[in-house]
């Protein structure tokens, strides 16, 4: 019953009645839930049945059909494997910034040095072209170049270039949360982390997932218990880093190590930033249920 339908002219009285009604409804709901929980504890199949029947309608659930999801092609495998062309050697990353970078970019570089294993930071110098950098890095057996893109003293993007022949990825960086701002954060160690890639389902998503797979060594140090998660949800890739703690034989706890940031793919190019394979366009945001990763 809505407040208008009560036709009570006294506002305070009207509010009181509505609050009472709401309270009553809440109590009924809680009672019903407690009752249901009790029943389901006795009969676990009932819970399963209920969950199977009441699937909530989410935007992800209603996503537009994409034929590349669930398709497995040998050709795809071969194309993705070109990101692992370093003959089994662990990846070697050159980290640099965009030209004329300011403090924020260097601070972010410090964070990335901790995250990526086997990384070398080089200060970007004037007069060096991308071709010079690629050539010099290829000669020194670097497998990837990561560039921190900075605009107006803010870190706005990350460029990943696989050597020697690409592909190149450009991601927008947003929602950066510094380690210090995460309550109860732990201190990371230099162990090679485990990697969790979530929800990269389309062909483009698999390419992006494989990029992250290729920049971390394949042999994680399990004793470090560190995990990096790249979770894709609605084309936003959430970066999180945790340490898992075995509390007892059954229970596992998580301690966040940080930092947190979000990536969004803007462009995928063949070679070292040559032909565009996929590019974000603002019109893509119009269709809310179409996802590309």
């Amino acid at each position: 019953m809505a407040a208008e339908e009560l036709k009570i002219k006294n506002k305070m009285l009207r509010q009181q009645i509505i609050a009472d009604l709401k309270d009553q409804k809440n109590k009924e709901r809680h009672k019903m839930r407690a009752q249901r929980a009790k029943e389901e504890r006795e009969d676990p199949t009932a819970k399963e049945k209920r969950l199977a029947e009441n699937v909530p309608k989410t935007i992800e659930g209603m996503r537009v059909y994409d034929e590349t999801i669930g398709q497995k092609d040998e050709a795809d495998e071969e194309d993705l494997m070109q990101l692992f062309n370093n003959n089994g050697e662990p990846p070697k990353i050159l980290l640099t910034t965009s030209i004329n970078a300011k403090r924020n970019a260097y601070e972010f570089a410090n964070v990335l040095i901790e995250i990526f294993p086997n990384v070398t930071f080089v200060k970007r110098k004037f007069g060096l072209t991308m071709k010079d950098i690629v050539e010099a890095s290829s000669k020194r057996n670097f497998t990837d170049i990561i560039i921190i893109n900075e605009d107006k003293k803010k870190v706005t993007g990350l460029t990943f270039m696989h050597l020697p022949e690409g592909p190149s990825f450009y991601f927008k960086v947003s929602s950066y949360v510094d380690v210090k701002k995460i309550v109860g954060h732990g201190r990371p160690t230099s162990h090679i982390p485990e990697l969790i890639l979530n929800n990269f389902s389309t062909r483009l998503g698999k390419t992006v997932g494989t990029l992250f797979q290729s920049i971390f060594p394949k042999n994680p140090d399990f004793e470090g218990r560190q995990v990096i998660t790249l979770h894709n949800q609605r084309d936003y890739i959430f970066f999180r880093r945790h340490r898992y703690v075995f509390e007892n034989e059954k229970k596992v706890g998580l301690q966040e190590l940080g930092p947190q940031f979000t990536l969004k793919l803007r462009r995928l190019q063949r070679g070292i930033k040559e032909e565009t394979e996929w590019e974000y366009r603002p019109e893509m945001d119009k269709e809310k249920k179409k996802f590309y990763l």
Binding site: Y65, D79, P164, R203, T276, W278
Partner: protein, 414 residues
């Protein structure tokens, strides 16, 4: 419609059978009747050029092989010729090139000459003459010449008077390699350069304009009365990496008669096709007038532009649908435009209206496409379509329908 699609990923050749209206990206739309891989030899061996010989095909592969294959039931390799590419010839050009990736040799042209001969040109400037013996299905390499590298295109002239018996003429060019016209004797004894273009004048700042032609098509030779018969008479249209459209006539000097910049941001232009009612089998223009035809060109992002000769944008093909750079576009008979690229979709457009007829997910970025059978709709689909549309042939039925329509007309919602 039957298509043969060459994919880079996995180096596969795929055969697709589909009707007009096929769109594999929409779940409820018409799906391809068949899409299967015929042959797959790995990315390094992918097919770059397909030449249709009717029941056989000549395939130019990335590994430097030209193969003669036959497939009706099964893929059957009849003969091949190897080592037609040479990467080492491109090494000196890498330092000066704009390319950030090491230059690799590739086939840029495979076009037929007379009597079963083929002209094959590579990026490194190797010009091969191949002979195909129809009797025993053998390919023989007759001759190899070297021209100035690097090449981005080579185009054979097939719309001039001497084409039936005389020497062959083709043009080539590339990054900082000005357009050159080359003549090959009819008996393949000699290759000589007959003409070379000259760069346009320096710009307003007196700076040299960079040279990088990326594609050309020949027009017919000039036919007016004031043609100097003693000098060479050829005409051609060129697009450049620096976004220029140029028209050259060898009768009018070595500089272009028209040199227009199509985009202010110097968007690199890659492919060139002529969108005219009739083009020659090699895609050249069957007129001597630089007017009344449209040009199709592609950039490195996702666009296929249609321009008129004055540089006015007429249309964008597949506007909004294509999401990756276009690596293949070709106009084929009867009035289809085939398009494929890095977005892994093979599309067929109607050349006259620009309407998309077919869209198929090929599973890999597309290098080349050929139409094997141009039938727009196969009988099964036609029947299905006709069955859906039941004609009201009975007069009684029609009256019933009218009565029904007359009753209870729905009120329009306010």
């Amino acid at each position: 419609m039957r298509l043969l699609i060459s994919c880079v990923d996995g180096g596969s050749l795929k055969e697709a059978v589909c009707g007009v209206g096929t769109d594999s990206s929409v779940q409820n739309a018409l799906q391809p009747l068949k899409l299967e891989s015929i042959n797959s030899e790995g990315t390094g061996n992918c097919v770059e050029i397909i030449h249709n010989l009717g029941d056989k095909f000549l395939l130019a592969r990335r590994n430097g092989n030209v193969e003669l294959v036959h497939f009706e039931e099964e893929y059957e390799l009849k003969d091949k010729i190897s080592d037609l590419l040479d990467d080492s010839r491109l090494e000196p050009f890498y330092a000066k090139s704009k390319s950030r990736v090491k230059l690799r040799d590739a086939f840029i042209m495979l076009q037929p000459l007379r009597n079963g001969h083929f002209l094959v040109v590579t990026k490194s400037g190797l010009v091969h003459i191949l002979k195909l013996n129809q009797d025993d299905d053998k390919i023989v390499k007759l001759k190899t010449w070297e021209v100035k590298a690097p090449l981005d295109f080579a185009q054979l002239c097939d719309n001039w008077e001497d084409q039936k018996s005389g020497n062959y003429v083709f043009g080539y060019g590339g990054e900082e390699n000005q357009i050159k016209l080359v003549e090959i004797d009819a008996d393949f004894t000699n290759l000589k350069q007959i003409w070379e273009a000259k760069n346009v004048k320096n710009d307003k700042l007196d700076m040299r304009v960079p040279v990088w032609p990326t594609a050309m098509k020949f027009l017919q030779p000039l036919k007016s009365d004031n043609v100097d018969k003693a000098s060479l008479n050829l005409q051609f249209v060129v697009i450049t990496h620096w976004s220029h459209l140029a028209h050259y006539s060898t009768q009018r000097g070595r500089r272009p008669m028209v040199y227009k910049q199509l985009f202010d941001n110097r968007e690199p232009l890659e492919k060139l096709e002529i969108n005219d009612e009739s083009t020659t089998s090699l895609g050249n223009i069957p007129t001597d007038k630089f007017q009344n035809f449209a040009l199709m060109t592609t950039d490195t992002k996702k666009n296929v532009y249609k321009y008129d000769v004055s540089g006015r944008l007429l249309a964008k093909l597949g506007n909004g649908d294509i999401s990756g750079a276009v690596s293949f576009v070709k106009k084929v008979e009867p009035g289809y435009i085939l398009q494929g690229g890095l977005d892994r979709y093979a599309r067929v457009f109607d050349a006259s209206t620009g309407e998309r007829l077919v869209k198929i997910y090929a599973g890999g970025s597309i290098n080349c496409m050929v139409v094997l059978d141009s039938d727009r709709l196969d009988p099964v689909q036609r029947e299905r379509k006709e069955a859906k549309r039941k004609p009201v042939d009975d007069a009684e039925d029609a009256e019933k329908l009218w009565k029904q329509l007359g009753k209870n007309p729905k009120k329009a919602k306010k």
